[in-house]
Symmetry: C2
Subunit: 141 residues, 2 copies
């Protein structure tokens, strides 16, 4: 049902600076650049051999990530868990008393996502992520 | 050289509460309990299908993790990257201008570790981790 830790996301002030470490010093390959003006974000994803590292730079100073940077500074922002069936996972977690931010999945850049409330997770913003490929393959795998 | 994201570590006030989510609601299996009085910590590790989740509860109110909880509250604490040869990795990162907390590896609960300074990583406390099994197998793999 849960397929593991898909991604660790980091809120940064500057993608260019963060890439000096994750791409140039560690040697991870950049797999995607995403410009998401509707979310006030630019993202870069790097392949860290199975689990991706995602770097998020705010482009909108009033957005969530800009607020996070202002309050907490740069750092780990959320962990994405890959799930096969996000609606089933949401129902399961609710039945187990977990508090969710999204009880209905919303569209992410490459699939459907829902956030679990940090109150239920030891302070971690956990994203459930159902990638498009999984959605398209449902029942056919 | 770097073998990927080995572990995501979470600072929590109560292992028991955090296990309600990671073990009971998400269904991850607990693989290890570690009591580390010398570090003022109790740890639980769960297998999240490749990348582990580590929960850290302070037992010493003056330790690093207790201080982290006091300053930032519960949440993501560090990311561990598994490396094959920690000394080589430290030399490589230093040569690439990365700031390290540990220029000499120290002993962790199951291998040798060294921390990279968050100033070089977009605010993330990154741990380089060379597991014992890798050390023992060096040159024999």
């Amino acid at each position: 049902m849960i397929k593991g830790v898909r991604r660790v996301s980091v809120a940064v002030r500057s993608l260019a600076s963060a890439l000096l470490f994750y791409r140039d010093a560690l040697g991870f390959s950049v797999t995607r650049h995403l410009d998401l003006p509707e979310r006030g974000l630019r993202l870069v994803r790097l392949d860290a051999f199975g689990t991706d590292i995602e770097l998020m730079e705010p482009t909108d100073p009033t957005g969530n990530v800009a607020l996070f940077l202002e309050q907490r500074g740069e750092g780990l922002h959320h962990v994405a868990l890959e799930v096969e069936d996000i609606e089933l996972e949401i129902r399961t977690l609710l039945a187990r008393g977990v508090e969710l931010i999204d009880r209905v999945p919303r569209d992410g850049p490459d699939g459907r996502i829902a956030f679990v409330h940090p109150r239920s997770t030891g302070g971690v913003l956990v994203q459930l992520s159902e990638p498009k490929a999984v959605m398209e393959g449902k029942g056919a795998t």
